[in-house]
C-alpha cells in the first residue's frame, strides 16, 4: 500500500508539474467551490485507495486501512512537493511550477502547514476510494454514473450553455449556471442525484424481462432513425464551432476507416498513412485552386474522383516495395515512406509545382447547383455523407471474400498463402483501398481549410489515426467512429486540453493495450483473439508453448 501510494504520489506530482492541474483549474465543476483541476487532484488519492484496497486481501478493516494509507501517502507526496518548492526554485527547471499551481496545491496555506492538510485530504480520499472498492456494485455503479454525468456537465458547459441560449430556456439556464460562470451547486447536485437514481433503477431492473417490448429489428430501426436525426440536428443546435469539430471528427473517421482496412483487417501496420491523406488533399488543391499553383481550375466534384484514384494508385505503388516486409519492420518502412513524401513536398526542389512550405493556396469551396458549401455547418453535411458512403463500403468489404482474405493474412500469412490466397493482390488491395478512403478525407480537408501545406501532414496525424482505431477497437467500424469522437472530438471541445492532448494519447495507447486491448467497441474476432487467454485456459498453454518454440527455433 505504501508502494501504491508512492506510485500515485509520483503521478500526482507529475500531473501538477506538467501543468495539467493548473490548466484544468480554469473550469468550474461547482462555481467558486470546485474546479476540474481539483477534481483531478482529488481523484488520484482516491484511485490510489481503490487500488490498494483491491490489492490487499484480508478483512474489511485491513482493506480500508490499506486505502487510507495509500491515499495519505499521495497527500504526503504532494505536501513534500509544496515544501520542496519553498526551499528551491523549481521554476528554473519546471516551467509549469507556477505560484498559482502551488497556491492550489497548498490550498493557500504556508508551505510548513500545507502537508498535514494534504495528508488528511489524501487520507480521506483514499478512504473513499477504498470504500468504493469494498462496496457492492449496486451501490458504486450508480454513484459512478452520477459522478461522471456531473463531470460531463462541467466539462461541456459551454456546449450546454449554447443549447440553452434561447430566452425561453433562461430559467433552466439560470438555475443550472451562475451568470457568466460555472455550474451552480444545486444544479450539480440535481444532475448527480438524477443520473445516479436512473442508473440505480436500471441496475435494479436488470435481469428481469426484456427492457423494451419492441422486437430487435424494430429497435434497431428506431435507433438508426434517432441517430440520423441527431446527426442532422447537431450542427444546427451546436453552432459553427461544434460543426467545425464534427467535420474534423468526420475527417479522422474517414482516415480511420481507411487505416482500419490495413491495420484492423489485414494486420498491416502502416505509420505513413498520412501521406495518402496528403495526396488526396494536394490533388484536389492542384486541380481546383484558382491561385498560383492551380493547374486545371476544375470543380470540386470533378476533382474528388481523381483524388481518390490518385490516392489509390499511390497506395498500391507504395505498397509494392513493402509487400515482403512484416510486423515491426513494416511499421518503420511505411513511416519512412511517409516522411520521405512530406520532406519532398516541403523541399525547395518541388517548390515550383507544390509550393514548398506555403503549399497550394486559394482552393475554392465546393458549389452544388448554385449552393456553396461555405461554412463548417455546410461542410459538415458533406463530411457526414462521405463518411456514411465510405463506412458502407468498408462494411460491405469486411464480410466479403476479400475481407475474409484480409483477416486470414492478419492471423497468419503463411497459412493464408497455403490456403490459396494471393498475398500480392490482397495486400495491394488493402493498401490501395485504405489509401483511397484517406484520399476522400484529404479532398474534404483541402476545401475545408482552403489551402494545403505540408505542415498539416505530419507523422502525428498517422499516430492519431492509429490511436483512434486502437481505442475504438481494431477491425470494428463503429469503433472507428467512437474512437475519433473520443480522441479527436473531446480534445477539440476541451480547449484547455490542447497542449496535453498528445500526452494523454500516449498514456491512453499504453493503458488500452494493458487493460483493454480489444478497444471500446471491439470487432467480434479481435475480441476472441485478444481475450483468448482469459476465456480458454487451453489457449494459454498453447500460447506459452508457441512462445517457447519461437524463442528456441
Amino acid at each position: 500500500m505504501w508502494r501504491v501510494g508512492l506510485v500515485f504520489g509520483a503521478v500526482a506530482s507529475f500531473v501538477s508539474l506538467a501543468g495539467l492541474v493548473e490548466a484544468l483549474h480554469g473550469r468550474w465543476v461547482v462555481d467558486g467551490v470546485l474546479s476540474t483541476g481539483q477534481v483531478l487532484l482529488l481523484a488520484i488519492p482516491m484511485a490510489s485507495g481503490w487500488t490498494a484496497a483491491r490489492r490487499s486481501s484480508g478483512s474489511l478493516a485491513a482493506r480500508v486501512g490499506a486505502g487510507l494509507v495509500a491515499g495519505a501517502t499521495v497527500g504526503l507526496c504532494v505536501g513534500l512537493l509544496v515544501w520542496l518548492r519553498s526551499q528551491v526554485d523549481l521554476r528554473g527547471m519546471f516551467v509549469n511550477a507556477s505560484p498559482a499551481l502551488f497556491q492550489l496545491l497548498s490550498g493557500g496555506r504556508p508551505p510548513q502547514a500545507a502537508w498535514p492538510a494534504a495528508v488528511a485530504a489524501g487520507g480521506v480520499m483514499g478512504l473513499v476510494g477504498a470504500a468504493g472498492a469494498c462496496a457492492p456494485a449496486r451501490v458504486t455503479r450508480p454513484l459512478l454514473v452520477g459522478a461522471s454525468a456531473a463531470l460531463s456537465l462541467a466539462l461541456f458547459q459551454e456546449l450546454v450553455l449554447l443549447v440553452l441560449q434561447p430566452e425561453s430556456l433562461a430559467p433552466v439556464r439560470d438555475w443550472l449556471f451562475v451568470a457568466g460562470g460555472g455550474p451552480t451547486a444545486q444544479g450539480m447536485a440535481a444532475v448527480l442525484t438524477l443520473s445516479a437514481a436512473l442508473a440505480a433503477l436500471r441496475h435494479a431492473s436488470r435481469g428481469r424481462a426484456g427492457r423494451l417490448a419492441l422486437p430487435p429489428r424494430a429497435q434497431r430501426m428506431a435507433w438508426s432513425v434517432v441517430g440520423v436525426l441527431l446527426l442532422a440536428a447537431l450542427p444546427v443546435a451546436g453552432g459553427p464551432f461544434l460543426a467545425q469539430v464534427l467535420v474534423i471528427v468526420g475527417l479522422y473517421t474517414l482516415m480511420g476507416l481507411g487505416l482500419n482496412l490495413e491495420v484492423g483487417l489485414a494486420g498491416l501496420l502502416d505509420l505513413g498513412f498520412v501521406a495518402f491523406f496528403a495526396i488526396g488533399a494536394y490533388t484536389v488543391g492542384l486541380l481546383t485552386s484558382v491561385g498560383e499553383h492551380g493547374i486545371a481550375h476544375w470543380s470540386f466534384w470533378a476533382a474528388v474522383p481523381v483524388a481518390v484514384l490518385v490516392s489509390l494508385i499511390a497506395g498500391v505503388i507504395l505498397g509494392i516495395p513493402v509487400l515482403g516486409i512484416r510486423g515491426d519492420y513494416l511499421a518503420i518502412a511505411t513511416l519512412g515512406f511517409g516522411e520521405i513524401v512530406r520532406l519532398l513536398v516541403l523541399s525547395d526542389a518541388l517548390r515550383p509545382w507544390l509550393g514548398g512550405s506555403q503549399g497550394v493556396l486559394a482552393i475554392p469551396k465546393p458549389v452544388l447547383a448554385g449552393f456553396e458549401f461555405s461554412g463548417p455547418q455546410h461542410l459538415y453535411y458533406l463530411t457526414v455523407v462521405a463518411s456514411a458512403v465510405v463506412a458502407y463500403v468498408a462494411w460491405r468489404l469486411q464480410d466479403s471474400r476479400l475481407g475474409r482474405a484480409w483477416m486470414a493474412i492478419r492471423e497468419d500469412e503463411d497459412v493464408a498463402e497455403a490456403l490459396g490466397i494471393n498475398l500480392v493482390s490482397v495486400k495491394l488491395l488493402a493498401y490501395g483501398l485504405g489509401a483511397a478512403f484517406a484520399g476522400v478525407g484529404g479532398a474534404i480537408f483541402a476545401v475545408m481549410v482552403g489551402s494545403v501545406f505540408p505542415h498539416s501532414f505530419q507523422l502525428l496525424i498517422s499516430i492519431q489515426v492509429l490511436a483512434l482505431i486502437i481505442v475504438g477497437g481494431m477491425g470494428s467500424i463503429p469503433g472507428v467512429m467512437v474512437g475519433s469522437a473520443v480522441l479527436i472530438g473531446l480534445p477539440e471541445l476541451l480547449r484547455e486540453f490542447g497542449e496535453f492532448r498528445f500526452l494523454v494519447y500516449g498514456a491512453v495507447l499504453v493503458a488500452m493495450m494493458l487493460l483493454r486491448p480489444e478497444g471500446l467497441l471491439p470487432a467480434a474476432a479481435q475480441r476472441r483473439e485478444l481475450r483468448a487467454v482469459e476465456e480458454e485456459p487451453v489457449e494459454l498453454a498453447r500460447a506459452a508453448v508457441g512462445a517457447a518454440t519461437e524463442g528456441g527455433g
Partner: protein, 358 residues
C-alpha cells in the same frame, strides 16, 4: 524452415513485383551515379571540404551508433523495436541541460571542462537509464506474451507520452546548451584540421562503444545477456534471471543513449523535447543496416549512415541541380532505411537472427 521452402515457387509468380523492385533499385543507383558524376564534374567542392563532410559524418555517426546499441540489444533479446528509445535519448540530454546551465553560469564548466563533461554524461546517462527501465516496467513487461502488434503500439504510445511529458515539464522551447571554451576551434590531426567538438564526440563515442563491447563480451553479465538473446528459456533453465537481464539490457541501452544525448548537444548546441525522434529513427536505421541484434554491426551501421548522410546531399544531389540539397538530408537517411528494410533486412553483417524473421 518450411515457410522458406514454400516461399520460393511463389517468388517466381511475383514477377511484376520483382520487376518493380528492380526498377526501384535501378532508379536509386542511377540517381546516385548520375548525381555523383555531375557533382564531380562541377568540381564545386574542394578536397578539404570532402574531408570535413566525412569527419562530420563520422562524429554524427558515432552518436547514431551509441543510440543504435540500445535498439539492437533490446531487439536481440525481446525481438521488439523499442520505439521509445529516441525519447530515452532525449530525456537524458534535456534533463542534463538543467545541470549544464548553472555550471556554465558559475564558470565551473570552463574551469574544469573534462570534469563537467563527465558529470553531464553521468547525469544524462542516469536519467536515460531511469526512463528506459521505467518504460520497460510499465509498457513492455506486462505484455511479454501478447501478440506482436501490442508491444509495438505501447512503444509508440510510450514514445508520445515521453515527448509530451518532457514538453509539459520543461517547456516547449529550444534550450541553448552552453558551449565549452576548450572545445572551440580546431585541432590538427594528421595534418587535417578537425573541429574540436567533432574530435571529442568521435573519441568519446569510440571509448564508450569499446567499453560496452568489452562489457558484453567479457563480463559474466554480458555473457548472460548473450545467452538470453540466444534462447530465453534455455537461459532461464541455466539459472539466469531473465527479467533481470532484460532490465539490465534496457538500462545499458539507456545509458548509452543518455551519453549520446550529451554528445549530440555538444555538436548541435541545443535541446528540445522533439529532438529524439529523427535521431531515433536514424539510429534504428543504423541498427538495421548493421544487422539488428548485432552490436559491432550497430556501430558500423551508425558510422556508415552518418557519413552517407553528411556526404550524400553534396555528392548525389548537388550534381542533379537540385536547389538546397541539404533540405533533403533526411530523405537520404529515410531512403536508406526503406531500402535496407526492403532489400537486405538482415543488414550488412547478415545476422541469422534477422534472416529468421525476414
Amino acid at each position: 524452415m518450411a515457410a522458406g521452402v514454400l516461399r520460393r515457387p511463389v517468388a517466381r509468380r511475383l514477377s511484376f513485383v520483382d520487376a518493380f523492385l528492380w526498377a526501384f533499385r535501378l532508379a536509386v543507383v542511377l540517381v546516385v551515379v548520375w548525381g555523383t558524376v555531375g557533382t564531380l564534374r562541377l568540381g564545386r567542392y574542394t578536397g578539404e571540404q570532402w574531408v570535413d563532410f566525412v569527419v562530420f559524418g563520422l562524429a554524427q555517426g558515432g552518436i547514431y551508433a551509441l543510440i543504435a546499441l540500445g535498439y539492437t540489444m533490446v531487439y536481440g533479446i525481446l525481438r521488439m523495436i523499442n520505439f521509445a528509445h529516441g525519447e530515452v535519448f532525449m530525456s537524458g540530454a534535456y534533463t542534463a541541460y538543467f545541470v549544464a546551465a548553472p555550471l556554465a553560469a558559475s564558470g565551473f564548466l570552463d574551469r574544469h571542462p573534462i570534469l563537467s563533461l563527465l558529470l553531464l554524461v553521468g547525469v544524462a546517462a542516469a536519467v536515460s537509464t531511469g526512463v528506459a527501465v521505467l518504460v520497460e516496467r510499465v509498457a513492455y513487461r506486462p505484455l511479454r506474451r501478447a501478440p506482436r502488434l501490442v508491444p509495438l503500439i505501447t512503444a509508440i504510445g510510450a514514445s508520445f507520452f515521453l515527448q509530451y511529458a518532457f514538453r509539459g515539464l520543461y517547456g516547449s522551447g529550444f534550450k541553448a546548451y552552453p558551449e565549452f571554451q576548450l572545445f572551440k576551434g580546431e585541432w590538427q590531426i594528421l595534418g587535417i584540421g578537425v573541429l574540436r567538438t567533432q574530435a571529442v564526440v568521435l573519441a568519446s563515442a569510440a571509448v564508450l562503444m569499446f567499453a560496452l563491447y568489452q562489457f558484453v563480451m567479457r563480463t559474466k553479465l554480458g555473457k548472460a545477456m548473450r545467452a538470453v538473446s540466444e534462447d530465453k528459456d534455455a537461459a532461464a533453465l541455466m539459472g539466469i534471471d531473465v527479467d533481470r537481464i532484460i532490465v539490465l539490457t534496457f538500462a545499458i541501452g539507456g545509458a548509452a543513449a543518455g551519453a549520446a544525448g550529451i554528445l549530440y548537444a555538444l555538436v548541435f548546441k541545443q535541446v528540445h523535447f522533439f529532438m529524439g525522434f529523427v535521431p531515433g529513427i536514424k539510429a534504428f536505421t543504423a541498427a538495421v543496416l548493421g544487422g539488428i541484434g548485432n552490436i559491432p554491426g550497430a556501430m558500423l551501421g551508425g558510422l556508415f549512415l552518418g557519413v552517407v548522410e553528411s556526404v550524400g546531399p553534396a555528392l548525389f544531389l548537388d550534381g542533379l541541380g537540385i536547389p538546397a540539397p541539404y533540405q533533403l538530408k533526411d530523405v537520404i537517411a529515410f531512403t536508406m532505411l526503406v531500402m535496407v528494410l526492403i532489400f537486405r533486412p538482415q543488414g550488412i553483417l547478415g545476422e541469422r537472427l534477422a534472416a529468421k524473421r525476414a
